[in-house]
C-alpha cells in the first residue's frame, strides 16, 4: 500500500501524484490518497472509473478526504465506457414525503430525541423503498446545516435521488442560510404542494 498526501494541492496535482504512486506499485496493490476537497475526490474517482480500478472515498473530517484505489491484476483491460452505477435504484413508485419539523424525534428527553432522529435518518437511507422527498422546517432546518450529525446520511439519500428541501424562511430565521450543506432551499408554496401531493406523509 502506498500513501499519497495531496492535502493543499490544487487539481491536477492530486491525480498526478496518485498516478505516480500507481506506477510505483508496479502491479496489483492499493494507493490511498488524502485530499482536502470534494472536487479532487471526484476527479480521482473519474480516473479510477476510466482505468477500471476499484475506488472508495471516505470523508475523514472537515476538508479531509481519503480516496482508496485498488489496482487489480487484470487492470490492463480497457475501462468500460459507462461508469458503473454504484447505488441500486431503490426509489419506490409511491410518492412518500418525510417531514422533519424539529431537531429531535418524539417528546421526552432532548438528548435521546436527537440520537433517535439521527438513527432514523440513517435507517431511512438503508430502506429498500426510499421516499421521494424530505422536507425540513422550523427546528428541523438545523439537520441539513453545518454541524448536523446526519449530513453524511442525507448526502447518501440525495445521491440516491431523494429530493432534500429545507424551508428558506426557517434558515433565515435561525441565521443558518450560509450553513446549508445538503439539498436545496424551498418556500412555503413548494412545501404545501409536496405535502398535499404525497401518497404517504411520514413524520418521525
Amino acid at each position: 500500500m502506498i500513501k499519497v498526501n495531496a492535502i493543499g494541492d490544487a487539481c491536477p496535482i492530486p491525480v498526478v501524484k496518485t498516478k505516480n504512486a500507481i506506477r510505483d506499485l508496479n502491479g496489483p496493490g492499493t494507493v490511498v490518497t488524502l485530499v482536502d476537497n470534494e472536487i479532487a475526490v471526484q476527479n480521482l474517482e473519474k480516473m479510477a472509473r476510466q482505468k477500471g480500478y476499484g475506488v472508495q472515498a471516505e470523508k475523514l473530517g472537515d476538508n479531509q478526504f481519503q480516496v482508496t484505489m485498488t489496482v487489480g491484476a487484470g487492470d490492463a483491460a480497457p475501462a468500460p465506457q459507462e461508469p458503473v452505477v454504484c447505488q441500486p435504484q431503490r426509489s419506490g413508485k409511491k410518492n412518500t414525503v418525510v417531514v422533519i419539523r424539529r431537531a429531535q424525534m418524539g417528546g421526552g428527553s432532548e438528548e435521546l430525541g436527537k440520537t433517535l432522529l439521527k438513527g432514523f435518518l440513517f435507517a431511512l437511507s438503508q430502506q429498500d423503498q426510499l421516499p421521494t422527498t424530505l422536507l425540513f422546517y422550523n427546528g428541523g432546518a438545523a439537520l441539513t446545516c453545518e454541524g448536523s450529525g446526519s449530513l453524511e446520511d442525507l448526502k447518501t439519500l440525495e445521491a440516491m435521488g431523494v429530493e432534500i428541501l429545507t424551508c428558506g424562511t426557517c434558515l433565515n430565521f435561525y441565521g443558518l442560510t450560509e450553513q446549508l450543506q445538503v439539498g436545496e432551499v424551498t418556500n412555503m408554496y413548494t412545501i404545501a404542494e409536496k405535502m398535499t401531493q404525497a401518497d404517504l406523509l411520514v413524520e418521525p
Binding site: 487539481c11 491536477p12 491525480v15 472536487i39 471526484q42 476527479n43 473519474k46 476510466q50
Partner: protein, 341 residues
Amino acid sequence: MGEEKLFCKGGGCTAKLGAGILSRILERIPRGAEDPDLLIGYDSHDDAAVYRLTDDLAFVQTLDFFPPLVEDPYTFGQIAAANALSDIYAMGGEVKTALNIVCFPETMDLNILGEIMRGGAEKVIEAGGVLAGGHSIADESVKYGLSVTGVVNPRTVYANDTPESGDALILTKPLGVGIILCASRVGEASEEAVAAAIQSMTTLNKSAAALCRGYHVHAVTDVTGFSFLGHLHEMMHGTHSCEIFASQVPVFPEALRHADEFLLTAAGQRNRNYVGDAVRFDGVPFSMEEVLFDPQTSGGLLISLPEQEAPALLKELRESGLPAAIVGRVTEAAAPEILVK
C-alpha cells in the same frame, strides 16, 4: 524577460466559482424594483448588463478579472483584457471605455505590473476603446482585468438565451485551453500547444461579432469559465434543446491527449457537476467529454442563427482567420436538453 515571471497555480477562468454555488447565492439576492430599461441583467445568466438610454442607444457594462494563467506578465495582461472585452462583443456592442482592475502584492517588482497593464492597454486600443483609469489594491496575489463599457443599439442587442428551433450553432475558437494550461503547470504540455492556446486567448472576438451583424443571429454567448456545455445549457434556457456533433467541434488536439491522462482542472469537474444532468453523451470518448466541460479563458463566440445562413457566416469567419465550425443544431425542447454524439 528574465526575472519577470508570475507565479500561477490555476488562474484564468479556472479560478472562477462554480455555477452551481453561484446560482444558489444569486437566487437570494434582493433585486429592488424592476427597471424596464435594464434590457439584460443577471436574470438571463449574462455576464454583462445592457441598459437602454434612448430608443436606439443602450450601454453595455461588464467586468472580468482573474489570477495569472501564464507566466509572462505581458501575455497575461493581453489575455485578461481580451477576456473582459469579449462580453461586450457577445452582446453585439462596440467598446468605448475601459478601467483597470488590479490586485498586486506591495513587495513584488512593479515592472511586472507595468508589463501586465501594457498588455491590457494594447488590447483595449485594438478594440477601439479608451483606457480611462482604474483601481489598484494591495493583495497577497496578483489579479488583473478590466471593467468595460460599450454601446449597442437596443433593437439589435444579442441575448445569450434566445435560440430558435432549426438554428445552426457556430463556435469560433477551439476548445481545450484550460486543460492545456493545466498540463503546462505540471510540465506536460508542449511549447507549441501552449503557444497556440495563447494565440487563441489573445484574439479578440471583435471580428467574429462584427461579421454576425450581416446575419439574422438569434443568440450569441462567449464561451468562458462555465465551459462549452455550461454556456450552451444557459443558451438553451429550458426552452430549447440541441444536438452537438462532437467530431465537428474545434479542439486543440493536445487537450484530448492530456484529458486522457486526467490532467483536469477542478473547475472542469464543477462544470460537470453543474450541467452534467442536462447532457447525454452518445458514443463520445471520455477525453472529448472533458474538453466540452473544460473552462475556457477568453474563449470564442457561440452563435445561434438560421441553418440556411450558417454556411455563409462560417465562410466569412474562416476567411477572417478564425478556426470556426458548425458544431450542432437547435431543436424544440426535449430530453436530454443537450445530446452530444
